[in-house]
Symmetry: C2
Subunit: 435 residues, 2 copies
Amino acid sequence: MHFGNGYGSQPHAWRMPGVPRGGATDFDAQVRYAQAAERGKFDFLFLPDFLGLDTDISHHPSMLTLEPLLTLAAVARGTERIGLVTTASTTFNEPYNLARMFKTLDVMSHGRMGWNVVPTSDPTSAANFGKAPMQRQEKYERLHEMVQLVQSLWGSWGEDAWIHDPASGRYADASKIQPVNLQGRHVATRGPLPIPPSEQGQPVIFQAGGGDYGLQVAGQYASGVIGATFSIDDARAQRTALRRAAQAAGRDPDEIKFFAGVMPALGATKREAIDRRLQLGQDIFPSRVPYLGQMLGLRLSESRLEEPLTEQELQMARANPGDPRSATALKVAREGWTIREILAHGVIDYHPTPVGPAEVTADHMQEWFEAGAVDGFWVSIDVFEDGIDAFVDGVIPILQERGLFHTDYEGTTLRDHLGVPHQYGLDARLAGAEG
Amino acid sequence: MHFGNGYGSQPHAWRMPGVPRGGATDFDAQVRYAQAAERGKFDFLFLPDFLGLDTDISHHPSMLTLEPLLTLAAVARGTERIGLVTTASTTFNEPYNLARMFKTLDVMSHGRMGWNVVPTSDPTSAANFGKAPMQRQEKYERLHEMVQLVQSLWGSWGEDAWIHDPASGRYADASKIQPVNLQGRHVATRGPLPIPPSEQGQPVIFQAGGGDYGLQVAGQYASGVIGATFSIDDARAQRTALRRAAQAAGRDPDEIKFFAGVMPALGATKREAIDRRLQLGQDIFPSRVPYLGQMLGLRLSESRLEEPLTEQELQMARANPGDPRSATALKVAREGWTIREILAHGVIDYHPTPVGPAEVTADHMQEWFEAGAVDGFWVSIDVFEDGIDAFVDGVIPILQERGLFHTDYEGTTLRDHLGVPHQYGLDARLAGAEG
């Protein structure tokens, strides 16, 4: 489940009835939401990160208010099973600091942490560190160094080095706690890191974002990939490419799991689901009309918001091949909805939006899964306060009845949940290849 | 209260009966210890930090295992009033990252955080960041930049910028959320930081460590100073110097509070207190005999451990003026204890060690306080598992009966506990001076 700014994924989530006043800074609420997701047996929460202020704050909260590692510390203490994954920049952190924080959290959560390795290119973020954005190749070079140094530090306290025998007075086997002494072009560290293994050894690596560079990162290191895609064909292609990249790196393709985003609009009826989205979108719809026009090959203006497309427009409309969401937009438009309602179907949102009763979302997930397009989903909830419960009580039982989703956690660690192998320190199969 | 490696301040704390097996990584235990301190109405916990492995790990735990900010996140969620202070290096962190983490924790704890600003010169730590140690002046130059940039970021989200009015849809007053655009020689940041104020506005600055550079830092920024001193005269001199430094920086001297360390050895009798320390010291005593000799101007060897000093030695012995602990060592030696027992009096420990029933510690604290030597103490507990309760149930009630210590928290924030003024962003009185 995608765990964001304290309110939910929709712009006006913060304005919905019942949402705590100080939502963005309310850790009790964050923990409550995580517990609700855990009740639904979600494999993991996924927190994005952004090293700056990313929005016009006048009418909408920023994507993120609080530091994600500390947010996950609060959540780790308030939950027992659900995995905890967060993005942390490989560009504006030092390997020793990141290694220490992630392994501390992995120990705190009893083996539930994952690190989504992401380079930062955004100029606002760079400016917060007094830097200019890094070039793509440099950025990825540093990322590779970071992952390898962090994993080496994780492994530097040998897995069975901690003796802790009060009777004999032997605390640790110092011969099994060794420096890493790694010097890259961008970062370096000596080590060791004074932290024993967690229940899953060390955190799991996640990757997000495509491109050849991203694919290589995922293939080499990632156990989970957070994807964004709008069609089964594209998702299947991405998943296949990832599995091949893992294989090319000498790994078993089943060690890498692909999660596609989904952004359900739930309601007892389709009408209710649309009405909820209308309320949650409010002032954002007018500004999106011209882009909807581009998706359909039409000139549309704000003044048309409350009207459906005319018969003539529907005949002229063509799905713009430049945006994979266009086909859905055209399909929805042909159903006769007003332009505002078309937009309320989430046709310009970041992920596919199944609209209507829980079955619609369950069908979407089943179809994609059975088509071999995904290993799972990351679910974007509209409003945390009531939306997680709606998903957990609506969609999850259907998936369970259909035998598509577990009825309880089978293990205790994130590696257990994902079904990915144990790893401690660098992946021995890659160590040679990386030189 | 000094909150260390999960076990307590004495080397063999980890071996004592009842201490949890996984103490160094057991967050439930950390939270329990913090709750015990809160029951004693301690103003704050103080966590040191060290960016490396600082000890021979074969027989003793390192000073610190887990990352301190995440440890305090766990503690913040399990306590309600006690202040939370930790060291974070100004040398090996970026201002944006530190500002974000400390303010997040301040929000999480509802205004209980403090940052002990410390530059790092240790070569082991530097090597973990691929660096050589920084020169003293550079290090302090960077520290000044760090504190000012971090405080500026803290103030960059205006104190009343968060409107959060669901009815009108106004989320924040963007005109009150402004970049800081600060460029130092060592660090730079643009800002703003997207975090609203906590109940105390922003974290409190602490300082530790002496010297002219340290004194200037404390005078300019610190509300609390973590001191180390072995006599009333020295403590009073340090406190006076700090108050003068604050005044020189244009502040009221009462805005800076000086805390001296104390490391009580508690027992129903003096004999019991010594026996507990003997057990807690075990294998460390032999190696300390030669240094004890130096303190007393004598040549002493390990083989003498179980003997008291001879009459002749006692006549020859002179307290070494180079170590302020020597006078206490000589006084204890003259009482006729064996060399092992002399060491068990803590005469070479980091802080003064009152030995015996709770009254002895209470007397020590009262004497120092009434002499104007301190504003308070940071208490180093021998074994957290039973030592915090022993202090809270033994020493605290005596101090309360004597009217020297509060019977409950009077406020909710760390600033309330310390009695230091509100601050948001840079101290306006210093902003001009710092130019």
